[in-house]
Amino acid sequence: MIGLLGLPHGFGSLGDTGLLRLHLVSESLIALACFPISVALLRIVRSRRGFRYNVALFCLAASILACGLTYGMEVLTQWRPLFWVSVAIEAAAAIALIAVLVVLLRITPNILAVPHKLADSRFRELIEDAPDAILQVDERGTIVIANRTAERIFGYSRVELLGSNVDQLVPQPSRAAHAQQRAGFLRSGVPMSMEKRVGDLYARRKDGTEFPAEIGLSPVKTEAGFFVTAVVRDVTGRKSLERELQQERDLRGQRVEVLARLAADLAHEIKNPLAIIHARASDLAELTAQGLPLPALTVEQTCDSILKTTERAIRVIRGVQALAHEGSHDPMQPVDIHGLIDQAVELLQTRFATHGIALETVVPAGLPMLQCREVQIEQVLVNLLDNAFDAIDGDARSRPWVQVRVSMQPASDAVGGAAAVHIDVLDGGPGVSPQDRGHLMQTFFTTKPRGAGMGIGLSVSRSIAQDHGGTLVLLDAEGPTCFRLTLPVLDRQSEGASA
């Protein structure tokens, strides 16, 4: 046996071989366990380069390795007196442990800062129930993370979302483009918000319906590769609000357009009466200045002319005032169709006459009252007449006539039993080409020369008609161009009741 003198742990002096055996086995096991532990730690350090606790792990691995060697030497020294080697390894283990202690003290605050389980779950809830859908997709477009809002907005369960391709959430027509954009985005790697593109972005639900969406994208770089986080907001509500605002703006725009045209007409319509009044008055003044006698008849005729001309000017101004009036918030009131049409016609009569276009109205007697916002319906009529005017004036093939024809809607065509009246505006213009027919009611579609029309008249007119529970259509029939405005009328009883 090897001499036991100088054994550090002093078991040898006891001379108990059972105890010594147990001691040797245990120490061997500790040594053997220490090696794989340190190897495992070093593997983590090697494979997770850049992990913030790698230094600590390395020190720990080194100290465990050193401790294992210490125990191994303990066993070895039972047979070979390698005391210096053993002590050197012990010293190395001590240094490694001190290093572990130092590193541990340094990283403790960081470790404490890592949210514990409760905070982590609250953070998760925050993501889950965020007001917007949050998705993360990998480079190939496969969805790897989806929150609860995403399930709700898109109508897919999480199981369906995870693992499927994000392109399925894009409407069919833009899918191919989307895949390309996704690739481009991954290459550029710059976060982007698609807010500015509201209006052209749509997303697709499971049931195939689409909704306007606002989408923000940011790239995420991880050890496992590139990912893209997408935040998708359903902006349906805002879009409809925007549409309403747009409609309001169009209406204002149309009014401005009509007013601008009228301003030129107005200058002419007012300056002519003013010229007459001015001339008549200056004639009288001249006679007086020359001390010539003023025959009563001359004075009477002059005054008569001035009065008549003034009234004419006032009528013109009244018509324009009515048109400039806001109107859209007016209450619906019973309005006489006859008067309404006369007013619109009066406003444009001069321009038509100036261009040699006959403007005629055919209104049967005994029509019921319209329940409407007078100013708005007058605006629609003026607009239709304006269009008829432009159609004729701009085309040599046209015959110069426009007719406003009113008729009761046949009871058989009545919707829901409500009585309605047709107000048709017919013109001798060249007609609407088949390819233009489909676009006619679209906002900003115009067949007029550049600068002559903004293309909002018909679409606004139609929305006014719809607001009134009516319609505005271009009749398909052969013959002259005919725009038909159909509006519900008050039946005799309710008319009696409201009167």
């Binding site: 002419h268 003013l274 010229a275 007459i276 200056s282 004639d283 001249e286 100036t354 261009h355 040699g356």
Partner: protein, 236 residues
């Protein structure tokens, strides 16, 4: 030409104005014809000798601008033309270039109308005899190569009643100006007083109608007008 010999065609769709204008002109000794639109005016012009056309711009059937364009295309030299209008939607520049000699705004008084008619009926040389009484507010001085070259370069173009100049000065419509233009090639100079009748701020151009020409340049300007016979009163 004495006013009692001159014949005037008044064209306006406002019949009451037509009547008033006729009465005013008749009182001054002019021979007066009337027409309610351009087409009727052409009929009158075919059968009558008319020295001056006094026309509205906006009229049914045929407007004043179309009437003047039609007259310009005819072989017979057109009468002198004055527009009277309350309508603002036209290009003053185009109207003077068509040969219209004055543009009067409605409403207007009898003295203003008669003065414009009398002046228009004068021969060009007689029109430019009296220096303006209005204080001159702007002096336009140009040093040019030759008359033809200047016209080709759009720097200066002469019409039968004024000129179009390209200059950076802040000119306004109605501004009385003094004009001094030298043509090096011909050794000629134009010394005139005039009124700005249109301005194109973008192209930095202005139309100036002559009110007075200095005696030394009157003869060459008249000779040039008689030989070139420009249709434009003030060119564009």
């Amino acid at each position: 030409m004495r006013s009692d010999q001159a014949s005037i065609l008044v064209v306006d769709d406002e019949l009451e104005l037509l009547e008033i204008f006729s009465a005013w002109l008749g009182r001054n000794g002019y021979r007066v014809f009337t027409a309610p639109n351009g087409a009727e005016a052409l009929n009158v012009l075919r059968t009558q000798k008319v020295d001056l056309l006094l026309s509205d711009i906006r009229m049914p059937v045929m407007d004043g601008v179309t009437l003047v364009r039609t007259l310009n295309q005819m072989e017979t030299p057109p009468p002198k033309i004055i527009f009277v209008t309350g309508y603002g939607n036209f290009s003053r520049r185009e109207i003077f270039a068509m040969g219209v000699e004055a543009l009067l705004d409605k409403p207007l008084s009898r003295p203003v109308l008669i003065e414009a008619l009398d002046r228009c009926l004068l021969d060009s040389a007689d029109k430019w005899l009296t220096p303006s009484l209005l204080p001159i507010e702007q002096r336009v001085t140009l040093q040019l190569d030759g008359l033809k070259e200047a016209a080709e370069a759009s720097a200066f173009t002469l019409g039968h009643g004024g000129c179009c100049v390209a200059c950076d000065l802040p000119l306004k419509e109605g501004l009385p100006v003094e004009l001094s233009v030298r043509f090096a090639r011909e050794g000629l100079s134009l010394e005139a007083q005039g009124t700005v009748v249109w301005v194109d701020a973008e192209q930095k151009k202005a139309g100036i109608a002559f009110d007075f020409l200095q005696p030394q340049c009157r003869s060459w300007v008249m000779a040039w007008i008689n030989s070139e016979k420009p249709r434009s009163f003030v060119p564009q």
